[in-house]
């Protein structure tokens, strides 16, 4: 029972980071109507920036994290300008292909710049292991869980209370109507991508001490992010959180009770089960497609 609780907390901790990444992915999906395949790789680039600033340059963590967020947001905006913007008016399949191309570029460019080895990332939140009954809790994991929850709440506030957040919701409901009501599409686009990249960077920094930093870390995490987005319901914000947490839980529990070799496969099984029963995702709304 204690072991089960501990694994659950482990899974929720991973899941909260998947949820943050998925939220970033879903913001792009709902505002831009495009699936951003390169989300995991953007996270990887952010983690490498943090590694450079925090470990190599030895800056204090409260300087290193904002700096890496800024750098990564700039990278994302450059990509958006160069690769995505020319394709907005074309078919969605081409845009999807383009994001696959971008993810290949990022992954391999990172390999050229930072090398193929995996780097250890020191813990940001040191501290002694906490015992509650017979459950052992690593402070780092609790912090990650806490940061995840705070970020979700902040995002929720941002979307509901601020002008920009409301504008983003309006755009996701009806693009042309929002544009006619005076929403500046270019600004909204840039804010969307910027927020998504910023959240991905934070998640990358949080995950870095656990999974290490390497150039292909975006592959498996990116796949899990897309799985959580689909499981929770594409474009749905509560769905992203639910999907992320579920994927994290399934991965941790499967790895503990079945076998760790097939760790990557459990989320896929979850995906298939959900898709077979609810193709629109658990909290997703069914879309009516018209000719």
């Amino acid at each position: 029972m204690n072991l089960f609780l501990q694994i659950c907390i482990q899974g929720l901790m991973l899941g909260s980071m998947y949820a943050i990444l998925t939220l970033g992915y879903n913001i792009i999906y709902s505002t831009m109507g495009m699936a951003h395949y390169a989300q995991g790789d953007i996270m990887m680039v952010g983690a490498f920036f943090a590694l450079d600033f925090f470990v190599t340059m030895d800056l204090p963590i409260y300087v290193a994290i904002p700096l890496s967020v800024i750098c990564n947001v700039l990278v994302m905006l450059v990509i958006e300008r160069l690769a995505y913007r020319p394709l907005y008016s074309r078919s969605r399949t081409l845009l999807l292909l383009c994001t696959i191309g971008v993810s290949t570029v990022l992954r391999n460019a990172a390999q050229l710049i930072w090398g193929t080895q995996s780097f250890n990332f020191p813990t940001i939140f040191p501290g002694d292991i906490i015992h509650i009954g017979e459950v052992y809790l690593v402070p780092q994991n609790l912090w990650i869980l806490g940061v995840g929850v705070v970020m979700m709440l902040l995002l929720n506030l941002f979307m509901k209370k601020t002008k920009v957040g409301r504008a983003m919701q309006a755009v996701s409901m009806n693009r042309s109507a929002a544009a006619l009501m005076g929403v500046n599409m270019q600004t909204i686009t840039m804010i969307t991508y910027g927020m998504s990249a910023g959240m991905a960077t934070l998640a990358g920094v949080m995950l870095a001490p656990i999974v290490k930093v390497y150039s292909t870390m975006g592959v498996s995490i990116g796949a899990k992010v897309m799985i959580s987005a689909v499981v929770g319901g594409m474009g749905s914000m509560p769905g992203a959180i639910l999907g992320g947490l579920l994927v994290g839980l399934v991965e941790a529990l499967g790895g503990m009770y079945i076998s760790t070799t097939f760790k990557e496969a459990y989320p896929v099984v979850l995906l298939l089960v959900v898709l077979l029963n609810r193709p629109q995702g658990i909290l997703g709304r069914k879309k009516v497609v018209k000719v």
């Binding site: 699936a35 395949y37 160069l82 690769a83 020319p86 394709l87 074309r90 078919s91 969605r92 399949t93 081409l94 999807l96 292909l97 383009c98 696959i100 191309g101 971008v102 993810s103 290949t104 570029v105 990022l106 992954r107 391999n108 460019a109 390999q111 050229l112 592959v219 498996s220 796949a223 897309m226 799985i227 689909v230 594409m234 070799t261 097939f262 990557e264 496969a265 989320p267 896929v268 995906l271 298939l272 898709l275 193709p279 497609v289 018209k290 000719v291």
Partner: protein, 327 residues
């Protein structure tokens, strides 16, 4: 229209003749291998083109089918001593069935949903390859024999012609499929699935069919690959390889039958030419996808075609200036 038909009448035998002549002048094993790989890429690319170019479905799981073909051939020929042709038939059957299975998800899903499911499929298949004793775990399977040719194993030159035969067959089948009722149904589905359904196209049937057929293409390519290279390991069938397959299809031209030849040759030759810069290779592929999508949506072949048309109109304008004035 008539003009392009006439040019096709000249160009197709010319290209085929050229392809038949080329192996005779290659001379060493290294160039034979490049030629064989270009052929294998053409086969797998034309399968992907049927799926992505003609029906607009994006599969990130084709490296898995490629792997099925390769592993079936490797295990069949090495462990059970089956002849090559039987392995190819087995690979075709197995890939057809697996293609139907994966394709059944595409009846309900499209776009990113399909990408997620097919990526997951590829991940799971690759995990099985790495962990199963039967498939040689992560070491893979060494020492795969060459097919027999009247009692002795084929040499590289003969193998070139075997691959070429499969390439011709693959392209011929693609051509016949695309220019049939089925092919028109495919394109109608790509342009608008609901509209196609409303005029009586059985969308689900055709989606299953095209998935299975393109999986068969990948399986045959895998069989040819395993027997040529003699050693296979799970790293040759990761989702990176799926990206390479998509790269060459996009590069050559989506929905263009000749495109996959151009894409395969360019990627096959580039891969060798860039061997020294092995690290830059995949980065370049990614850049190529993005650049081609933005500047040449019809791929290299589309670019060549429009260039040819412009030349033709230039020539005809020079030749008959009087007629132009009359009009």
């Amino acid at each position: 229209m008539k003009n392009t038909n006439n040019s096709a009448k000249v160009l197709v035998p010319l290209t085929a003749g050229l392809a038949l002549m080329v192996p005779l002048f290659l001379g060493n094993n290294y160039y034979y291998d490049i030629f064989i790989m270009a052929g294998i890429y053409t086969i797998i690319g034309s399968g992907m083109n049927l799926l992505l170019g003609f029906t607009g479905q994006l599969s990130m799981g084709h490296a898995a089918f490629y792997g099925f073909g390769a592993y079936i051939t490797a295990i069949g020929m090495k462990s059970y001593g089956l002849p090559f042709w039987l392995c190819v038939i087995l690979a075709v059957g197995f890939c057809f069935a697996m293609g139907m299975l994966l394709g059944s998800t595409s009846c309900k899903l499209s776009g990113i949903f399909l990408v997620v499911v097919t990526t997951g499929f590829n991940t799971v298949v690759n995990l099985i390859m790495v962990n199963w004793e039967f498939t040689g775990r992560s070491f893979g399977i060494p020492g795969i024999p060459k097919p027999d040719w009247f009692g002795s194993p084929m040499n590289k030159l003969q193998y070139c012609y075997l691959v070429l035969a499969f390439v011709f067959l693959a392209l011929f089948v693609s051509y016949r499929v695309v220019h049939s009722k089925t092919g028109r149904a495919f394109q109608a589905m790509r342009d608008n699935a609901i509209a196609a359904r409303s005029v009586g196209v059985n969308v689900n049937k055709y989606k299953l069919l095209v998935f299975a057929v393109s999986a068969v293409y990948a399986g045959v390519a895998g069989a040819l690959y395993a027997s040529n290279i003699g050693y296979i390991s799970p790293t040759s069938f990761t989702s990176n390889v799926s990206v390479t397959i998509i790269t060459m299809t996009v590069l050559g031209g989506l929905g263009d039958l000749c495109g996959c030849i151009v894409g395969a040759v360019v990627v096959g030759v580039l891969m060798e030419a860039l061997r020294e810069f092995g690290d830059y290779q995949l980065t370049l592929y990614g850049v190529l996808i993005v650049v081609i999508l933005i500047f040449m949506p019809k791929g290299l072949m589309g670019g060549l075609r429009s260039l040819y048309r412009r030349l033709c109109s230039l020539v005809s304008r020079r030749r008959t200036p009087a007629k132009q004035e009359e009009v």
